[in-house]
Amino acid sequence: MSAPWVDLDPTLVVVAAGTTTVGAVSGALGCFAYLRRQGLVGDVVSHSALLGVVGAFVLVHAITGSASRSLFILVPGALVAGTAALMLARSVSIRTRLNDDASLGVMLSIFFGGGLFLLRWVQRQSPPIAGHTGLEDYIFGMAAAMTRADLWMIFALGGGALVVLFLMWKELKVFTFDPDFARSQGLPSRLLDTLLMGLLVAGVVIGIQTVGVILMIALLVTPAAAARQWTSSLSTMALLAAAFGAVAGAGGALLSASAASLPTGPVVVLLATTIFLLSLLLAPRRGVIARARARRVLRDVPPRAAGGAS
């Protein structure tokens, strides 16, 4: 008899390592989007990435005559499309009377609709383009198809994003908390804004293979919202969100591997949502239960004494 881990399917190890990393990275990066109240920006980036992924595939195929679904081709495409969608949405909401919500929504429909259009067109080509079959998986994610090369890409891009986050921590923190003050201190707000956007796009890009473009938003927002419940320090929040994301990612990979018919993405999201709900209810100070109890205590105290509390 060998130790149990030797029996682990090497494919499963790759997949679990990938989803865990994706969960951790997007959890940490999501904190900034969450605190800037830009949770849904990630939704737009991830949907737009479909156009970038399919577009890059088509472009590489047209130029070289062959294309593969390697992340080395698809990641740059997704980066370009995600950034373009955000920049367009931003300039629409600054320069027209349309609000943020509407301009983000429009860009989401254009880029995702366009991506779907292009995808269906690719699938209709005859003779069929080799390798196109997996493109479809970006919509709902297909963690099981993750290769070793994909895993290295996830490590590289995710690790890079975390390093940037670490190096620029203080600047990103003050910019997120008080942008006017940050500007008054000479911090380049446009650069920092672009940087945060770029980090978000990087997080999304490595995540869409696992959970798909539609559910990616949950990996950014849900762990961050859960982590916010437990702490009042930004660094602890980022670490906790990364931990929650990693747990959800790892759990999702293992659960869906044990029950063969379960798609990974939704399982990851539901695990993260469970963590969020528990945090929402149980967290010591901000939790619903703790707050209800605090209110009750306050109500039981005679009004004069309660009024004196600050």
Binding site: L35, L167, M168, W169, K170, E171, K173, V174, T176, F177, D178, D180, F181, R183, S184, Q185, G186, L187, R228, T231, S232, S233, L234, T236, M237, S310
Partner: protein
């Protein structure tokens, strides 16, 4: 410890010299051709009706919002080279106080400008921040989560963050708004102390009744600067009637005749 040319200034240079400052957000300019000169040690209130561009004046002078035109000099130099000598206290309500951070952390943000990129605040910065908090009588709350502060305490934290910069020129956006009476007194005396030490303060202020008590100079602003001078020179009935279009808010003491 003085390093870099941007800390050297001549004592006779005006602390703040603004000319032709114009800002527009939409069709109408929010600030029009504003000229303003403050000597060192000035303690000046910016007053004017709603939408007069008071906050915009501060932000444009600081370079926080883009301007159509204008030249700003802080102690004789471009403000970009004087950042370390300029402190800014934004409106208290402009930030999310539910942000996960502590009182000390917010004050430490005042040291970020001097630290430069990548360097983290260390022991020295923490000591400075704690000292500023002591000045604002907030040292006990250094570890407190900012969401748990009262309005007055929030304002004290913002002021401590400005103090830690040890600046020469202070821009404050309604530091008295929504604070308790005790905090109001301590902010007023802090301003007095700073001005006494030759620091310069330009503060947006809403409560006309307290202008003469807390300030020595006034800037009357309604998109354009209508008057600048000592309280005695410019803060009188005639000017205020003109500034507010005859609807001077209640509570203004009857001042010197126009």
């Amino acid at each position: 410890m003085i390093q870099g040319s941007d800390l050297n200034f001549r004592a006779d240079q005006p602390a703040l010299d603004v000319e032709g400052l114009t800002v527009t957000y939409g069709k109408e300019p929010a600030l029009w051709n504003a000229d303003l000169r403050l000597d060192r040690g000035s303690l000046a209130a910016v007053v004017g009706p709603n939408g007069a561009g008071k906050s915009t004046l501060l932000k444009a002078a600081l370079g926080v919002v883009p301007r159509v035109s204008g030249r700003v000099r802080v102690l004789g130099e471009d403000p970009a080279r004087r950042r370390r000598l300029v402190a800014y206290v934004p409106q208290r309500t402009s930030v999310d106080w539910d942000f996960p951070t502590s009182v000390l952390d917010v004050v430490l943000m005042g040291t970020y400008g001097q630290l430069g990129w990548f360097r983290r605040p260390g022991r020295k910065e923490r000591a400075l921040a704690l000292h500023s908090l002591e000045q604002m009588e907030m040292a006990d709350l250094a570890g407190r989560q900012i969401a748990e502060l009262s309005g007055g305490q929030q304002q004290r934290v913002f002021l401590a963050r400005a103090l830690v910069q040890d600046a020469e020129v202070y821009f404050m956006d309604e530091p008295f708004a929504g604070v308790d009476a005790v905090t109001e007194q301590s902010i007023a005396s802090l301003m007095g102390h700073l001005a006494h030490r030759g620091k310069t303060i330009l503060s947006v202020h809403h409560d006309l009744a307290t202008v003469p008590r807390y300030f020595e100079h006034a800037v009357l602003l309604n998109r354009a600067v209508q008057a600048v001078g000592t309280i005695k020179e410019v803060f009188h009935r005639g000017n205020l009637d003109r500034l507010y279009g005859g609807r001077v808010p209640a509570g203004v003491p009857d001042l010197a005749p126009s």
